[in-house]
């Protein structure tokens, strides 16, 4: 390939950026001892951020220039894409999306570290932050978007975007999600820095706006994906518990949990260890999410996981996961447990760190080796391929990976040891040097703690369910072996069904709503039962009233009713409290908005998920079809977008309602990757209290030569040519047969005034494909051919069959009418889902801004040198000025004077 300056610049920028980020991390670490180095470290970080910008610009130029000699551009871009979609091919693949993530981390880092530097504790924060950037750039070095392997002929056009991605949401969903991912890095760096410097208080104030803002971004990113699936992909719903969806939900749940516990620390000084743990976990969850979706491990379990990127990238992702996890555990262990502090006291300096590292890091080595598999061949191949010079560097790596692989037999004991260290770190009581804040039971902080616990449990459940495919098969076999030996009939599988999340999520959601209501009604520090009861009376009555209405509206399941009751209760309590705050200090309203949003969201889920009804309808052109309380009329189709797509015009009206609105589900064919596929975009008619969701299944042409297509419902008469035909049963033999390969249906055929006859039509797979055996009357004036049968999963019977009927003797008359076949779903309260989500995000944004202002103000107020901060002295380190008193709204027991500020 000829030399290309832009691609070279891109490769160079990634390499230089990696070097700069590593330098920044190391220098900042050294600056803990020699403060002079901090300034150089900061410069190095700036350089790294600039190079990431350069690399991104280079990739963008290559994309806009249609440089198909680059593999990445060839694979995801094409000439026919409009500008917006063309730009979105930047992150259509793994390499580009990691570059986008690195770009977000770099840009956020410039702003974040500038503000941190003003507070004078940048060295330790930069260490962790630059390390994250370095890791991302290392991934880009290994799997570069600028790779251009020699091809015999550069194609004139690229493969283009997958048709599923060719729509508006592709341009917003991924960038927002990655921004959310990147926003989890500052709190992580702050937490590590605080642990390193043993200043356990102040970081919470600086980190809170990032966690809240990150939760807003991540939440927005997740829901944009859901909206995409609902609006255009026609997946029927907006959430499917797919591993990739789950893997972005986990960091969100953890960060939301952290927002609550950090608030507690800010107010009371308690939950110190919890906050470190949660913030570190939120970041690790982001990394783990990347690992799951980008390493190919999910492979067969997910709809949209990427494919295997190669052993080396897999190992790198895994290694980073181990490194950041171990760093977090090591710091927590050395600061908060008896064991850790004792080791550091007895063995000063490096020696102590070495002992602790041996304890924490050592078990990771065989574990890592076991999971990453055999790396030796990777390096062997690399050595064979690369010039002799590189061999010098590769041989030691070969040796290292051989040594690593030799430790594999230790994996099981190492796993047990690692678990032991983890459990010890997280459950061992804080060492005596750190006092534990003991809360009163009846106080807001205690209930916030319970709330965080509930969220944490759900996050753990989602983590477990999502990680299940990653657990090696032998382990699962072993567990099943054990289970069967105990005589249990249960067996563990490799994936879980959505019912797992729903069954566990329902009681947890009820608990969460109950806790939200109580926590908001409670005062900080101390409250009385009478006080809570007084504040809860009106909301309780509201909830009782509204859930009675719900019960009459058709919600009969007790669990659903309970969820409805508590969701309304939480909404009412928060609406009441929020209203008071809104009149006083509108910028403090964030928390209430989010809580109301969650309540609304859950009510929307009850409606759209559990009260939804759905049916397949056949809409003959021009004919009215009534179903599910609505009248549908199909009025033909029109070509759109230059005739590449077709929009069906379906008029929808409520039965007995006013005139109809026309919705337009769309179908079109695409050609992608050498295959034709049919794309379907649903049409949605929105009412304020429900969505009518119409998925097009297909258009059938008029039946040829006198055939009439009929759908027979069990026991319903169909008149035709002097006969009355009825679907009697599936042919006996006891078996329920309902597939298009073997189907035999008995029809009851009655000529008026005569005795009914029973005729059987069959369809089966013969040696040369599917054979139809029609049912015929002896007179030869009626013929029935089977098309298919639909099986009622609940009743376990065939409830309807579709067939063609004709009178072979009659002269065929072609009444040319197309029939549109659609699946119609009525989803009550769908609007509440979107409104709820919007409120949740608006709440987090409000809270994020407000906390950011607090952080800036507190940073300015901090007159005394930070070194004097005593971590144990809670009121001092929390350093809450009187002014932030009214923030929690009613019932916080703050003097009214505070409100005046």
């Amino acid at each position: 390939m000829t030399f290309d300056p832009i691609g070279f610049l891109g490769r160079l920028a990634v390499g230089a950026g990696f070097a700069a980020a590593v330098t920044a991390s190391i220098l900042s670490f050294l600056a803990l001892r020699r403060p002079r180095l901090a300034a150089i470290g900061w410069r190095a970080f700036q350089a790294a951020a600039v190079t990431v910008c350069i690399a991104s610009a280079a990739l963008l130029m290559l994309i806009l220039d249609h440089r198909f000699e680059y593999e990445y551009i060839r694979a995801y871009s094409s000439r026919d894409l409009p500008l917006g979609l063309l730009l979105s091919t930047f992150y259509a693949g793994q390499e580009g999306s990691i570059l986008l993530w690195a770009l977000a981390v770099g840009l956020i880092g410039i702003g974040f570290l500038t503000s941190v530097r003003k507070q004078g504790n940048d060295a330790e924060v930069t260490t962790g932050y630059a390390a994250v950037l370095a890791f991302l750039l290392l991934l880009l070095l290994v799997k570069s978007p600028f790779a251009a392997p020699d091809v015999p002929l550069v194609p004139r056009d690229g493969r283009g975007l997958n048709p599923l991605l060719r729509n508006f949401w592709m341009q917003v969903h991924p960038p927002v999600l990655f921004l959310g991912f990147a926003a989890m890095t500052p709190p992580f760096a702050l937490a590590l820095g605080a642990l390193a410097r043993r200043r356990y208080g102040g970081w919470v104030i600086s980190a809170l706006p990032w966690v809240a803002g990150g939760a807003a971004m991540l939440g927005l990113g997740i829901v944009l994906g859901g909206f995409w699936a609902y609006e255009t992909l026609g997946w029927g719903g907006w959430w499917g518990w797919d591993p990739v969806e789950n893997s972005s939900l986990i960091p969100w749940l953890v960060s939301v949990s952290a927002v609550h516990t950090m608030l507690v620390q800010k107010r009371t000084g308690g939950l110190v260890m919890t906050n470190f743990t949660l913030v570190i976990l939120a970041f690790l969850a982001v990394l783990y999410s990347t690992f799951l979706t980008r390493s190919g491990v999910l492979g067969e379990a997910s709809v949209h996981a990427f494919v295997d990127p190669g052993r080396f990238t897999f190992t790198l992702l895994l290694l980073s996961l181990f490194v950041f996890t171990d760093t977090g555990i090591l710091l927590l262990l050395s600061r908060f447990t008896n064991l850790g502090t004792r080791v550091l006291q007895r063995r000063p300096g490096l020696q102590g760190v070495a002992v602790l590292s041996a304890l924490v890091v050592a078990p990771s080595i065989p574990l890592f080796a076991a999971v990453s598999g055999d790396l030796v061949p990777v390096f062997r191949v690399a050595i064979q391929k690369s010039p002799a010079v590189w061999g010098v560097f590769l041989y030691p790596l070969l040796g290292l990976s051989s040594a690593l692989n030799a430790t594999v037999p230790l994996a099981l004991p190492a796993f047990i040891l690692e678990l032991g260290v983890l459990v010890y770190t997280f459950t061992a009581r804080l060492h005596p040097g750190v006092s534990i804040r003991s809360f009163r039971f009846l106080s807001r902080e205690t209930f916030l703690g319970f709330g965080a616990l509930t969220l944490g449990i759900f996050a753990a459940a989602v983590l477990f369910g999502t990680s299940l495919p990653v657990i090696p098969h032998p382990v699962i076999e072993w567990i099943n072996d054990f289970l069967s030996r105990t005589g249990s009939l249960a067996a563990v599988g490799n994936t879980v069904e959505p019912t797992f999340y729903e069954t566990l999520g329902l009681p947890l959601a009820i608990l969460m709503m109950a806790l939200t209501a109580t926590a908001v009604a409670l005062k900080w520090t101390e409250d009385t039962w009478a006080g809570v009861a007084r504040k809860l009376t009106i909301p309780l009555m509201t909830a009782a009233l509204c859930s009675t209405v719900l019960a009459f509206a058709g919600v009969r399941e007790p669990w659903m009713l309970a969820l409805g009751f508590f969701a309304i209760l939480a909404t009412a309590v928060n609406a009441r409290a929020g209203w008071r705050v809104l009149r006083g200090e509108p910028r403090y309203v964030g928390a209430y908005l989010s809580h109301i949003g969650v309540g609304a969201l859950l009510l929307g889920v009850i409606g759209s998920g559990f009260l939804a009804r759905s049916r397949v309808l056949e809409l003959p052109e021009g004919g009215r079809v009534e179903a599910l309380g609505h009248v549908f009329t199909y009025a033909g189709y029109e070509p759109i977008e230059g005739g590449t797509k077709f929009r069906f015009k379906v008029a929808v009206a409520e039965t007995g309602g006013r005139e109809a609105d026309t919705v337009g589900p769309v179908m079109y064919e695409t050609w992608y990757g050498g295959a034709r596929q049919v794309m379907r975009i649903p049409g949605i008619e929105r009412y304020w209290r429900k969505d009518v969701y119409i998925e097009p299944h297909g258009l059938t042409e008029p039946a040829p030569s006198g055939w009439r297509a009929v759908r027979f419902e069990r026991g319903v008469d169909v008149p035709f040519g002097g006969y009355t035909i009825r679907f009697h049963d599936i042919e006996s033999g006891g078996a329920v047969v309902s597939d298009p390969f073997r189907l035999a249906v008995v029809f009851q055929v009655t000529r008026s005034g005569k005795a009914p006859r029973f005729l059987t039509a069959r369809k089966f797979r013969g040696p040369d494909g599917v054979v139809d055996e029609p049912a015929r009357t002896g007179e030869g004036d009626l013929e029935i051919v089977l098309d298919g049968a639909s099986w009622d999963r609940e009743k376990k019977t065939v409830e309807s069959v579709s067939a063609r009927i004709r009178n072979p003797r009659a002269t065929p008359n072609r009444s040319g009418r197309d029939t549109l076949i659609v699946q119609v779903s009525v989803k009550p309260f769908m609007t509440l889902v979107w409104a709820g989500v919007a409120l949740v995000i608006a709440g987090f944004v409000t809270a994020g801004f407000r906390r950011a202002k607090d952080a800036v103000r507190l940073a300015r107020r901090r007159i005394e040198p930070v070194e004097h901060e005593v971590e144990r002295d809670v009121p001092q380190l929390v350093d809450v000025p009187a002014g932030s008193g009214p923030l929690e709204g009613e019932g916080n027991g703050c003097p009214d004077t505070a409100r005046a500020e």
């Binding site: 494919v307 299940l468 098969h473 994936t495 069954t503 034709r676 297509a709 797979r765 699946q823």
Partner: protein, 136 residues
């Protein structure tokens, strides 16, 4: 009253574990081959490839999609998916079907498609004309 806090927290965790364990045993699905699936009659998931030459049929009236699949042990089975044709079905190198055997046919509720990593076919000839029609 620090005790009460831990008691309640512990209780929440234990109850969640019980419900979670129950939900898990009920909702977890094993990977299996067609042979195992037929023998056990349980709901499983089977990985394999679509037997392309036999084609696929979608019946919009009943909303069922039928095709043949070959599993890892080279056993073939007919699959009936109760739902529309999955996205990217024609592109898929590998398939995973979730469901159970009933009378010799595998009734699937979900079909996952696994796309090839790299493009190997011919370049796109542009969008084909025409509206997808399916004859009755």
């Amino acid at each position: 009253m620090a005790k009460r806090r831990y008691l309640i927290g512990g209780l929440v965790i234990v109850v969640s574990l019980v419900i979670g364990g129950y939900a898990f045993l009920r909702g977890s699905v094993k990977y299996a081959t067609f042979g195992e699936a037929e023998r056990s009659g349980k709901r499983v998931q089977v990985a394999g490839t679509w037997i392309r030459e036999r084609g696929s049929v979608y019946d919009p009236r009943t909303n069922t999609f039928a095709f043949s699949m070959r599993d890892g042990e080279n056993r073939e089975a007919e699959i009936v998916l109760h739902g529309p044709k999955p996205n990217n079905f024609d592109l898929a190198e590998n398939l995973v079907v979730k469901g159970r055997f009933e009378n010799g046919t595998f009734h699937a509720t979900q079909v996952l498609t696994k796309c090839p990593s790299k493009y190997t076919g011919e370049p796109s000839p542009g969008h084909p004309e025409g509206i997808p029609k399916e004859n009755p």
